[in-house]
Amino acid sequence: MIKKAVNWARIKSPWILHFNTGACNACDIEIIAALTPRYDLERFGVILKGTPRHADILVCSGPVTRQIEDRLIRIYEQMAEPKFVIAVGTCACSGGVFKGCYNVKGGIKSVIPVSAFIPGCPVSPKAIIDGVVKLLSSLEEKPKK
């Protein structure tokens, strides 16, 4: 029973940490737009947190460039279990248009495990909300542990 309760809590209060891994920041603007009054993610209990320690979900946008790669890994390791990663935008999902450039390693999943992909270039705030909600509901069927 406790498992169900903790799981319910995990679904209801996802704290996110936004990290831009070399994107052209069209997606970042849309992520910020998703938090502003018109779309307002706080209805789902989503808060933007400053430190990896407090965050549950790491929202990454952009293909991982060579320079940002080690930082991404470091931030991922600092996050407390159970943690999830959402790749926002086609670049984060697969490296997008920049796949094959010499300075780009490709999508986020080439560096850290990713739980949800939200394609789109740039991804629209509605798609972000849909992605976050889908990730949360996916927890319901199969609890992580």
């Binding site: 831009n20 070399g22 920041n25 450039c101």
Partner: protein, 412 residues
């Protein structure tokens, strides 16, 4: 911060700005910035090399995603260079549609900047309202091109989508609302004493320095440099349109604000002319996949300044060399000069004044005592908050005018 020792602040970017993210390492003496050392290249993705391995059409998608806000600028600039080499006669209607989208993008970019600038100096109401109005132009762009950013309307030899009658009605209606609102923003930017006090004398670049440092776009025009690619080297249909180039003598952040806000009005004028003189005819012309050998350089007046693309072709279907110089790369040189012996509190607004991309506002700054070992980390927001308080201490407080801006704008 003890006045005696100098602080070195590496001002590392978590988020890239524009093509090359900027990381500034600031040597501080107490409050005054003594020296700035700029480190670029954090998100260098090797676009130019990738362009050489793709065909021209594929390159178009790559070039469009260099910068999140002015994607149309890069794609138009690139397409013009290729069309010049292939000596293609682009239909007039296509050029008009290109100019229309270009000006709509300038409106959306300047409104975004106005909001960010307001946010940097603690005038958050301006951010809320500028971004609320920006949604009007984003909806227009989505209506015309199907996407809020990265429109993908350009193709080699013309444009991909035509404009229908009622879309023109829609644009005219939208522009009407935006023009009404921009009048308030001009009034706020030019007459509001707190803004004038907060922004004038900040990030000064004299006329000679602007020339020597090769500043471009509104940053240069605010220092009196009368240079605008749309008028000097007209491309698309700018030759047939009449608009005036806004310059300003203040040479500081205040001047840049005035230039950008007034440019909005010019853009509305251009949009109306485009819609009025829109000729009929085809919107694209077939271009062979293999571009004959040749080279071309094309310039474009992006919202942030002059954008330069050089394309060299060798007769095959892949370009031999593509060189892109984004406008901020030219302006970044001037920032070093602007920040010299300014206060740390001014740093956010000075950097925001050359209008690097929005996402650079979450940058992390670490303040390192030159001789003391502990490093104090302050994030970009902290620096902004610090700046706002620092100025509030000197009597510049936006809470009052926020309310009357809100009251006036509620009406529309």
């Amino acid at each position: 911060m003890p006045d005696t020792n100098k602080f070195k602040i590496p001002f590392g970017p978590q988020h890239p700005a524009l093509k090359e993210p900027e990381s500034f390492s600031i040597a501080l003496k107490g409050e005054k910035i003594m020296g700035v050392d700029i480190r670029l290249g954090y998100n260098h993705r090797g676009i130019e090399k990738a362009c050489e391995e793709r065909t021209y059409i594929q390159d178009l998608y790559l070039i469009e995603r260099i910068c999140g806000i002015c994607s149309h600028s890069h794609s138009t600039c690139f397409v013009q260079a290729v069309e010049e080499i292939a000596a293609v006669e682009v239909p007039k209607r296509a050029l008009y549609i290109r100019t229309l989208i270009a000006e709509l993008e300038r409106v959306h970019s300047h409104l975004l900047w106005l909001g960010v600038a307001g946010h940097e100096i603690g005038f958050d109401t301006l951010l809320m309202y500028a971004w609320r109005d920006r949604e009007v132009v984003m909806d227009l762009l989505a209506l015309l091109t199907g996407n809020r950013v990265n429109y993908g309307i350009n193709t080699i030899g013309g444009v991909r989508r035509d404009i229908s009658g009622e879309q023109i009605e829609e644009i005219l209606k939208g522009v009407g609302i935006l023009e009404e609102r921009t009048k308030y923003y001009i009034e706020v930017a030019t007459q509001e004493t707190t803004i004038i006090k907060r922004l004038s004398g900040v990030g000064v670049v004299s006329y000679e320095d602007a020339l020597k440092l090769d500043a471009v776009g509104p940053t240069a025009r605010a220092s009196g440099v009368d240079r605008d690619v749309r008028r000097d080297d007209p491309y698309a249909v700018y030759g047939e349109l009449h608009f005036d180039v806004i310059t300003d003598k203040h040479c500081d952040v205040y001047g840049r604000t005035v230039v950008r806000v007034k440019e909005l009005m010019e853009s509305y004028k251009i949009i109306r002319q485009c819609l009025k003189q829109l000729p009929d005819g085809p919107i694209a012309v077939k271009v062979p996949r293999k571009i004959p050998a040749g080279e071309a350089i094309s310039r474009y007046e992006a919202p942030r300044g002059e954008d330069v693309h050089y394309v060299k072709s060798n007769g095959s279907e892949k370009p031999e060399r593509v060189k892109v110089r984004a406008p901020t790369l030219a302006n970044v040189q001037a920032v070093k000069h602007m920040l010299k012996d300014r206060f740390l509190a001014d740093m956010p607004i000075v950097i925001a004044a050359i209008d690097p991309c929005f996402s650079c506002t979450d940058r992390l700054i670490s303040v390192k005592g030159v001789n003391s070992k502990n490093k104090k980390i302050i994030t970009w927001e902290a620096l902004r908050a610090y700046g706002i308080d620092w100025y509030r201490g000197r009597g510049i407080d936006f809470t009052k005018i926020s309310n009357d801006l809100r009251k006036r704008l509620e009406g529309i």
